[in-house]
Symmetry: C2
Subunit: 344 residues, 2 copies
Amino acid sequence: MSGIEDVARAAGVSKATASRALTGHGYVAAATRERVARVAHEMGYVPSSSAASLATGRTRNIGVVMPYLNRWFFAEVLEGIQEVLLESGYDLTLYDAKPGTEGRRRVFDDFLARKRFDGLIAVGLEPDDHELERLVAIGRPVVSVVAIGDNAGVVRLDDEYAARRATTHLIELGHTKITFLGGVSVSSGPHVDRARLSGYQRTMTEAGLTVTHVRSEVSLPGGYAAAVDLLGDPARRPTALLATCDEVAIGAIIAARRLGIPVPSALSVVGIDNHEFAEMFSLTTLEQSPRSQGMHATQMLLGQLEDPTQVPQDVSIQARLIVRNSTAPPPGTASVTVGVGVTS
Amino acid sequence: MSGIEDVARAAGVSKATASRALTGHGYVAAATRERVARVAHEMGYVPSSSAASLATGRTRNIGVVMPYLNRWFFAEVLEGIQEVLLESGYDLTLYDAKPGTEGRRRVFDDFLARKRFDGLIAVGLEPDDHELERLVAIGRPVVSVVAIGDNAGVVRLDDEYAARRATTHLIELGHTKITFLGGVSVSSGPHVDRARLSGYQRTMTEAGLTVTHVRSEVSLPGGYAAAVDLLGDPARRPTALLATCDEVAIGAIIAARRLGIPVPSALSVVGIDNHEFAEMFSLTTLEQSPRSQGMHATQMLLGQLEDPTQVPQDVSIQARLIVRNSTAPPPGTASVTVGVGVTS
DNA sequence: CGTTCGAATGGAACCGTTTCCCTTTTTCGC
DNA sequence: GCGAAAAAGGGAAACGGTTCCATTCGAACG
């Protein structure tokens, strides 16, 4: 393995000059720079990142902490982050912090303390006080996607707005019996669900309609189970369902099909996410594009790294309504033609 | 930030002794070791990983390269890897290498060359010659989950066996018109699909049955589309479907439902994976447990790191048949009772 | 034409560990 | 009780970069 000293010797300059030539910092004659670069390339020289980190204090690595890897939302965010980092030449170190596990404790107490990164992206963490304390103790910029208690930069969907918009859509179609399906539970974390539920409740109340909330585990099978339960009882059955997320909504659609309830003619279903399966199930939904949330957060963090005076901003994204074929006027309504398409 | 020198001073020993006490290498009196550890803990000392890496040449970090993050199989493998690494105190650096992208080229040519890891896990990569060359040029141990051309350690499902077992299951139920649904296409990479197809073909041929293969994109919507096409034509319709993976199988089940073809009474469907949705759709399938494949690969790699003489082994996992309610004897057969349960 | 300033470069210190090598102390077998 | 070997610990040299500081040289400016 050849070091910078070998490159310097081969190029006939000092280590100092070679370093300047390769990093682009400080004065170096154009001809020299070019020669050093060529020699380095020919020798297949690759700088040691540990040595560079030790000398500069920067790692060119970003840490990402998330509670789940195998859920659609998180995987999409991760891909977005990865895409931007790849382009910027940063590495990405992943920390898995499942709520309530011993592993999570170690991530916060040991792994993160090692500071093997210049900045941190927290995705859908809902850190408790101790965890939050550890996070600030690290002394590196933090940006989060979805909630985090403190004043770090945050990129998130405006969940309340999304739920309001979805509810409004159903009301405009003529529905009055609209049930919210979802949980005060995990998934992207309780805060998300609370905000969505609250958006639904407010909109219903403002319209003078009755609020009905059915709990469901936040997952496809969870939505299925909850919907089977709810729809199986004709007395309780609403004409429309607002699900806390697409997975729950799709579970509900599958349940309705199995129960022989046609969607959307007898039952409208709307979700929030625009999950990759949404199109397949013709699901009307509010798009939240986690991928671009990840990209956004990353750009924000990188910006903060290169100019530390830059204040962390909060970005709130307004979901776009995508109308597909899972929503229609309630049964027994004078037919209203609803186009399939996208509106904001 | 306090360094080891501060700790040494506070504990009244030399840097050398402090280092030995903390790392556990070399002779240190028990009392001294304990004192140094206590002082270090009180001061909140955290060793600089760059400095340690520079000195030792080891990073305590593992690189993971995969082409997709948001597909079930890959996400599960990743979680398995993460779990083992977390326990062993290793960091995990993730590299996203989508086939045919500029990003992938950079991963191989730039990112991996930086060697910020002690070993590498390649998941479902099917590297071309140039990429393979780069991989060995790194000079670090590599373990792969699913195919990789060369002689690195490999952990993978025995795909051929899985397909044979699935086919046998259908034949035993009395089916003779069995169509393979799947693609020579991406997903976990072409090799996987070829092996599964081949297992199906051989078993059919051995049983004297006719092979029929319908291509499908390897995804849920892909399976749906292909099945709609196939099942829509009564002349071509088989009594059983073997899908290359569960996502395709589930797509097919959804298609069958929509076409009013009852599963399993009129059509049996079997998949391979035991995907998280399999249970919900009562899908009979062969379990491949990507999570434990990831764990397995990681343990293999770590073992190799601590004892470099250890030869990389190839591990081939035999899938377990899980019988649910998507398979039954073909229509018009004297009824055979099939228990729901697990067999090997 | 002397002074000043910027460009270009080299020497050496430094980043924070680990580890080699050497000295001193202890232990243990005979 | 002695010698050898093992245990304990210290000083200093790595590891491979970056960057401060000093030096030289040439050009621009008054």
